[in-house]
Amino acid sequence: MKALRLFLGLAVALAVQTTLGGWLLQGTTALDLVLIVVVYIAMTNGPTTGLLAGSLAGLAQDALSSGVLGIGGLAKTLVGYAVGVLSTQFIITGILPRFLVFVLATVAHAAVFIGLYVVLDLRVFPSPWPAVVTQAVGNGLAGVVMAQVLELLPGVAARRRERRSFRRP
């Protein structure tokens, strides 16, 4: 059940990223919703789930983009694993720590992703770091918001159910 939920979360992220991302935020460079979901899964489920989620999401993202299949997957795998390990070593529940983790994860993902392309001489990234920083901040903000929303949703639903039950005596 949990795996299904994770899979659905990744599918939604992918769907949003590929269909609504451009319309909402003027291009995919501003936000990487799939990465946000992977980082969140890793933070809440540990390194194994994080790296598997990163692999799956990254491969799917690569398959849906024009890039080389595997590079994004590898980058997200490493990030998911690293964040998962961090989450087992540190308490990452506050807003600021989560923001920092999202930012650092984005930077690390960009470093691996861009690094692989450069090393393999597949693409040129002239001055990539401003865009990376922008994306990192955007991912941090979006990630924190998403995490808060996802963690508040169960409580909101429960309170709503409780209110409905008081109204139907």
């Binding site: 789930t49 595997g70 590898l74 694993y81 393999l120």
Partner: protein, 283 residues
């Protein structure tokens, strides 16, 4: 996810990385057009090969150097032996060349003399210091007989005094029992050259009035019935004008008897020679 797998995230990470690297490699070619996985594999294995090769080469070099030291020692020994053999061979070649030159001069002498001759090799010197003889390798079976003259390119050597089927004994003109009819080439003064048993000859019976001086060439006169006329005996070294009617003349032989190797035996007897078969071998 099973707990056993969940508790080994490192293994899963490694598997995931390997799989995705494989996927990447399957799609990506290097700048030289070679598939990345092939390039990476080749690069990795080539490094292994290089390291292995370097290690093996190092060991081989070490072994070869060690083995080479032993090989060099054996090679030195072989070369030393070869050099000794070559030195011996060189000496043999030099001796052969000298002998060839000697034979050539003998041939020239034979042609010049117009005599029937037989070449013979000196195989032994005299057994007694009191007698100046030598042994040659030609004998009666080659037509040699007693009182045949023996000559060399340098001059008269002696005569055959004993002939076996395969060898002959030659009395040298320096033997104390040897005598040769001679004349001074320049003045034609005649005399008799006698052996003294040493390195010189004595020319006797030359009239005191004859013009003889040191340096004059002494040649055979042919009157002895053994030596053909005109062959060099030696040169006048000293002329002693004594109280008698004859000069006492010391002659240095032209032949170096200590270095004789090949000689010619004159088979043609001098003209007018009449030697009984059982006559003594004395001129």
């Amino acid at each position: 996810m099973p707990p056993a797998i969940r508790q080994r995230p490192g293994v899963i990470l490694a598997v995931a990385i390997v799989l995705q690297v494989g996927i990447i490699s399957a799609q990506v070619n290097t700048a030289r057009g070679m598939p990345l996985i092939e390039s990476l594999t080749f690069g990795a294995f080539s490094e292994v090969q290089r390291l292995t090769s370097n290690g093996v080469d190092g060991l081989l070099n070490l072994w070869n150097n060690y083995a080479a030291l032993q090989h060099v020692q054996a090679e030195n020994e072989t070369l030393r032996r070869t050099m000794q053999e070559m030195q011996v061979q060189l000496q043999q070649e030099r001796a052969l060349a000298q002998r060839t030159e000697s034979l050539r001069r003998l041939l020239e002498l034979r042609d010049r003399a117009g005599l029937q001759t037989a070449a013979a090799e000196v195989i032994a010197a005299g057994a007694s210091p009191d007698f100046r003889t030598l042994t040659i390798d030609k004998g009666a079976s080659d037509g040699l007989d007693r009182d045949m003259a023996v000559i060399s390119p340098a001059g008269v050597v002696g005569r055959v005094i004993l002939s076996s089927p395969l060898a002959s004994k030659v009395q040298l003109i320096i033997d104390r029992n040897a005598a040769v009819g001679a004349l001074i080439e320049r003045t034609r003064a005649q005399g008799l050259v006698l052996g003294l048993g040493n390195a010189t000859l004595q020319m006797e019976y030359v009239p005191g009035t004859a013009d003889v001086k040191p340096g004059d060439l002494v040649v055979t006169s042919g009157i002895d019935g053994i030596y053909p006329k005109g062959f060099v005996i030696g040169t006048v070294d000293l002329v002693d004008r004594g109280p008698g009617t004859f000069h006492a003349i010391t002659v240095v032989p032209s032949v170096d008897f200590s270095r004789l190797e090949e000689v010619l035996v004159v088979l043609t007897p001098p003209a007018g020679r009449e030697v009984p078969p059982d006559a003594e071998a004395k001129p």
